[in-house]
């Protein structure tokens, strides 16, 4: 009972009394928790999405068979006649685009003859006519199409009209379903299928015995698992980024509690004198933190669910362009997510409350009897902190030099944390030195500025915490801005180097990191023969599986590439000899992400499944590539055609003859493509589009930073309110002594301005150091890209100005409180 009274006196009553500050603190925690939860939910939804799109109608299966370039159809017959109980379901899996609204939908070819279950689920079996008809299609219930509707789908380079023959059961989701016959014709799978699903108690070795060596047999779901693994690094980094907002929120709890402990020192002294133990005091402060955390966690959960809606779109866009075709699965708030929200809310609150609680417990009972108030800021040991900071900095430097742990840049994250610690620990020393150095300068601005500066330096502890929180947020924003800016510039330089052709052709059907619609060979031949065309480079990409990880295998024309094109290789100044050598069969070049992921070097040999065979390829070089994170293996077109004889192209680079006008060339090409759904992009358009995709990809990181800043600015507002309430007497006295209302307000604004300036300065420096860790440690270890450092000056200036303005705006309300104080009343309070 006694402890409850203590709790009530110390925790609940003050919280209720200072409602605004409590609300702001809870809001900051809620934002932090909300961001973490939103990213977690969005990541889950994005990771669940391969399931949602390509597992349409997969039903129950034990195994799946895939192969680079498709599984030869003979494998289907061999599996189906095995002397084991077995159900074999060959599938052709692709995507199409609805011509009207440009919606991308899975288009799946299944055996509508054998799959009676499917027909029954549709309520209506396909009949002889619909099996034969070229325009027969079945719609999933989520497509919005009904029986008898006409749907125009762009498949590869052609638009086709279909009549919906029936609507399938819910398992078909948002997919369109074709019979294998039309699917193989319309999607260009002459003698292959994309996947075979197998339901059988037979062992892997029984099944493997009838499969060609190039086929990969895996437990069903393994492919989804691979995709998840591939996404793991991306999700990890996103997750880490999301915790920044929480860390900033924790700073604020620390600040709130520190202030409230100091203000209640006399009261604490009294209860101690009346017999309350240290543990009881400790418990009371921790309970306050826990309640803030609980409220923040609960509010954060709701906020997170709301923010997840936006986050999932951004995450899915990134996943789609960098990794794998996806459509986000529904957002699911599980019990685990709820528990996690509470745990991180309360956990962050408790951890940040430890120091204030311990300090509260140290208040001696005698203090109640003593007169006056001990200024808590006197306790800051700034030089010891500076020393500690230096040690952290050194540790950060060491951590940045460590290798990844299990493919994850754990030491990189540690280095980032240590760097933040370095900055935070150095802040008190920095502030007090700056205060003495800048006094003259501030005096010249005016008495208000001088007072503001002194007040900040005087309450060093509180100022340090505030600057620490704000500058951490600023630093992370700066770091991410530098990283993304550098990345962007690197990609721009790479495109300058790489994109040399005048026109680029690609099928209208949507491409992504793992799907490569094609252009018919006849069209390419026609373009190649045009008068104004000097050469074309036909590029064909396939999805493959290399040592359990998805990758892209592609073929290009090495002769054209060495004559016209460019690719920069790591450590090689002249790429021409490499292209010459690439014309020999049995050779390949690989992209940098691939080389890093699989630890491949020039001279190594790759064993690669291609069609039914396994082919050994010698690696000639590693090229810079920023087009996808899965990694490329590129061989000469003739090598590719030898094993995967489909002559269609995924895209085509067209080099015009010298002197041929771009528009004239384009008209010629478009004439040759008449009727086909092929996009002709100029070099400039392609670049613009690439950079648009790049920016879309990083939109989520910007959004995360924005939230961290919002949390920090909320903190500044809440701290300034505290500051004003705390200094009622001082402010009252100022007014009593003749200070005008505008003068008091100005002083508050100056304080906010100085805080913002300090935070921006510290944040900029710290951010630069962090960006190095991001670019050269975390990025390299988790994605394997070479990024050249680049200052995105305009972006940084914009961001810092925005933060500064927000900080000053945060002072509006506290300044109003300060000016409304009645000097007489305040002075009489004493």
């Amino acid at each position: 009972m006694a402890s409850f009274r203590l709790l009530y006196r110390f925790v609940i009553r003050p919280m209720a009394r200072e409602r605004l500050r409590t609300v702001l603190t809870v809001f900051a925690v809620a934002l932090g928790v909300g961001v973490v939860i939103a990213i977690e939910l969005a990541g889950q939804a994005a990771a669940g999405s391969f399931h949602a799109s390509m597992e349409t109608l997969a039903g129950r299966a034990d195994y799946e068979v895939t192969a680079a370039g498709g599984v030869p159809v003979e494998a289907v017959g061999r599996l189906a006649t095995l002397a084991w109980p077995i159900r074999v379901r060959p599938r052709i899996e692709d995507y199409g685009m609805i011509a009207g609204d440009l919606r991308v939908v899975p288009v799946i070819g299944v055996d509508l003859v054998a799959d009676g279950r499917l027909a029954a689920a549709g309520g209506e079996a396909p009949d002889a006519e619909s099996l034969m008809a070229a325009d027969a299609i079945w719609a999933g219930p989520d497509t919005g199409y009904h029986k008898g509707d006409t749907v125009r789908l762009i498949l590869n380079d052609t638009e086709r009209r279909f009549r919906v023959r029936g609507v399938l059961g819910s398992a078909a989701g948002g997919a369109f379903v074709l019979d294998l016959g039309s699917a193989s014709r319309l999607l260009g799978r002459k003698s292959t299928v994309d996947r075979i699903l197998i339901e059988s108690p037979a062992s892997e070795s029984v099944l493997r015995a009838v499969l060609p060596p190039g086929c990969e047999l895996a437990r069903f779901g393994a492919r989804t698992e691979e995709n998840r693994r591939m996404l793991a690094a991306f999700r990890w980094n996103l997750r880490v980024l999301s915790y920044i907002a929480l860390v900033v929120g924790a700073f604020l709890i620390y600040n709130t509690l520190s202030v409230s402990v100091v203000r209640r020192r006399p009261e604490i002294g009294i209860v101690r004198a009346m017999g309350a133990t240290r543990r009881a005091v400790l418990g009371a402060v921790l309970s306050e933190a826990a309640m803030l955390g609980l409220a923040g966690g609960a509010a954060g959960l709701l906020l997170g669910r709301v923010m997840a809606e936006g986050a999932v779109r951004l995450v899915a866009a990134t996943v789609d362009s960098l990794y794998v075709s996806s459509r986000p699965a529904p957002i699911e708030v599980t019990a685990a997510i709820v528990a996690w929200a509470m745990a991180i809310g309360i956990g962050a609150a408790l951890v940040s409350a430890l120091t204030p609680a311990w300090e509260a417990a140290q208040v001696p009972p005698t203090e109640a009897m003593a007169r006056g108030r001990r200024e808590y800021q006197a306790r800051v040991r700034r030089w010891r902190n500076l020393g500690l900071g230096a040690a952290c900095g050194l540790a950060a430097w060491l951590a940045a030099r460590q290798a990844p742990v299990g493919g994850r840049p754990l030491f990189g994250y540690l280095a980032a944390l240590l760097l933040i610690a370095t900055g935070v620990l150095a802040i008190p020393a920095l502030i007090s030195s700056l205060a003495s150095v800048s006094a003259g300068c501030l005096r010249r601005i005016g008495a208000e500025a001088l007072l503001a500066g002194r007040s900040l330096a005087g309450s060093l502890r509180r100022t340090s915490v505030l600057v620490g929180a704000l500058s951490t947020a600023v630093a992370m924003t700066v770091a991410v801005a530098i990283m993304v800016g550098s990345f962007r510039q690197t990609v721009l330089d790479w495109m300058d180097d790489r994109l040399k052709a005048d026109l680029y052709l690609r099928p209208a059907a949507p491409a992504s990191a793992d799907r490569h619609p094609t252009i018919r060979a006849e069209l390419a031949d026609r373009v190649a023969k045009l008068e104004g065309v000097a050469a074309i480079d036909r590029f064909r990409a396939y999805e493959i599986n290399y040592q359990g990880m998805p990758a892209t295998l592609a073929g290009g024309d090495s002769r054209v590439a060495s004559r016209f094109g460019r690719r920069s290789f790591l450590g090689v100044s002249n790429p021409v000899p490499i292209f010459r050598a690439l014309e020999h069969p049995g050779t390949a070049v690989v992209s940098e992400p691939f080389a890093n992921k699989h630890n491949v070097h020039p001279g190594d040999r790759l064993r690669l499944p291609m069609g039914a065979r396994i082919v050994s390829l010698k690696v000639l070089g590693v090229f810079y590539d920023y087009a996808n994170e899965r990694g490329y293996i590129i061989v000469d077109r003739r090598t590719l055609l030898r094993y995967l004889p489909d002559p269609a192209s995924s895209n085509i680079a067209v080099y015009l003859k010298p002197g041929v006008d771009l528009e004239a060339g384009r008209r010629q090409v478009e004439g040759a493509l008449a009727g086909a759904r092929v996009q002709v992009l100029s070099n400039r358009r392609l670049r613009q589009e690439a950079i648009r995709i790049f920016d879309r990809t990083f939109a989520i990181t910007y959004a995360l930073e924005a939230v961290a800043i919002l949390v920090a600015v909320t903190g500044v507002a809440s701290a300034l309110v505290a500051l004003v309430i705390d200094r009622r007497r001082e402010l009252g006295l100022l007014r009593f002594l003749g200070g005008s209302r505008p003068q008091v307000a100005r002083m508050i604004y100056y304080e906010a301005g100085l805080l913002g300036l300090l935070a921006n300065g510290v944040g900029l420096l710290l951010g630069m150091a962090l960006s190095m860790v991001l670019i050269f440690v975390i990025n390299r270890q988790s994605f394997g890209w070479t990024i050249r450092f680049h200052w995105p000056v305009a972006v940084l200036l914009g961001v810092l100005t925005l933060i500064y303005m927000a900080t000053v705006l945060a002072a509006v309300y506290p300044a109003r409180i300060a000016t409304r104080l009645r000097p007489i009343e305040v002075v009489h309070e004493e």
Binding site: E74, V76, I86, A114, A120, A125, P126, A128, M132, K190
Partner: protein, 360 residues
């Protein structure tokens, strides 16, 4: 005669224009082994195995393994391996007489890349991993059928040569030319092999019966179904009878049969020469169809009087695709007299059209 059971797809009448199908017409000359395999000019074709088996310990089993081919179109397709010139349906049933359990399953396939077909060069009629493999000009037929609960591997050796039913090479089913089928049987195949039920493997032996039939038109509009008997007597003779039932309940005049004596030539039986009477029924809980499961048979010219019973009433194949009607096909026991002397036998009975009309 044998069931044309509904080929899971509603094929009736929707054929691509231009395909002209061969009719089953009198004067057909059989050539073996070619006529054991496929006749792609005819729309429908089937190979039908049924048999009664027992273990040395006296456990009794019945089986049915059937391969159907139904043509959709003979137009030149797109050249894709997935084109559907024919659909291949197969039925598999297994009767555990002692355990009083009946198992059945079916599958539907296109020819595809080796999914189903009949191939004389490989001596193979198959649908997935169910097959009949012919060697030595039909003097050996090997069956394999695998389901989740059971499988069997049987070696069949004809005791008697192939029998051609009907007259002039056709078995008539209706009054118009072409309303007939080409119909041949191996009426007595000595059978040895293994059956495996729920993982328990047993050696079995017994006798099987094999029908092969191909045609383009068969049932007429006023026929609802049929009752078909194949009986193997202990004394070495066999009897096949089918009765076509009309919508008005009467027996169709084109009902017929064949008598195969222990030695000597087979003799056709016309509808006026026999009489079938159903004496007791079984109601299917699954389809509510009511099937006669006790019969008496009279064949006047042979002075044959038979009582037909079944050791297992629940031998209905149901639960296929919506367009595939249920039918009853199962092992039967026969007792009776011929010329006053007692005869016994076993056989198979097929009854269609009791749970919905058979449409073809």
């Amino acid at each position: 005669m044998k069931s044309s059971l509904a080929i899971g797809l509603a094929c009736a009448g929707v054929l691509a224009a231009g395909t002209v199908w061969r009719q089953a017409l009198p004067g057909y000359h059989y050539h073996f082994p070619g006529d054991y395999f496929s006749h792609s000019g005819f729309r429908t074709e089937w190979w039908y195995y049924t048999g009664n088996l027992q273990t040395s310990g006296g456990k009794r089993f019945g089986y049915e393994l059937t391969f159907f081919r139904h043509a959709l179109s003979r137009d030149r397709g797109s050249g894709s391996v997935w084109d559907v010139p024919d659909v291949w349906l197969a039925h598999l049933a297994f009767s555990d007489i002692n355990g009083q359990r009946f198992y059945h399953t079916e599958r539907l396939n296109r020819p595809g890349p080796g999914l189903a077909g009949a191939d004389i060069t490989r001596g193979l009629i198959w649908n997935g991993n169910w097959f009949s493999r012919w060697s030595d000009g039909g003097r050996r037929q090997q069956l394999q059928a695998i389901a989740n609960d059971f499988r069997f591997d049987l070696n069949l050796v004809p005791v008697k040569p192939v029998v051609i039913h009907g007259e002039h090479g056709i078995s008539r089913k209706g009054p118009l030319p072409g309303e007939a089928s080409h119909y041949i049987s191996f009426t007595r195949l000595r059978t040895q092999g293994t059956v495996e039920l729920h993982g328990e493997r047993q050696m079995v032996e017994g006798f099987s019966w094999m029908d092969h039939e191909f045609f383009t038109h068969q049932l007429t509009a006023d026929q609802v179904g049929w009752d078909w008997f194949s009986i193997q007597f202990d004394d070495g003779a066999e009897l096949m009878l089918f009765r076509l039932r009309r919508t008005d309940g009467a027996a169709d005049p084109f009902s017929a049969g064949t008598w195969v004596p222990a030695t000597g030539a087979a003799r056709p039986i016309t509808s006026s020469e026999f009489r079938l009477t159903s004496e007791a029924t079984w109601r299917s809980p699954a389809t509510t169809g009511v099937y006669p499961v006790r019969w008496s048979i009279l064949v006047h010219p042979l002075n044959l009087k038979l009582q037909v019973t079944t050791p297992l009433a629940a031998q209905e194949l149901s639960g296929g695709p919506p367009a595939s009607p249920a039918y009853w096909e199962g092992a039967i026991d026969i007792e009776g007299t011929r010329q006053g002397h007692p005869v016994r036998g076993r056989g198979y009975l097929e009854m269609t059209g009791y749970a919905g009309k058979i449409g073809m």
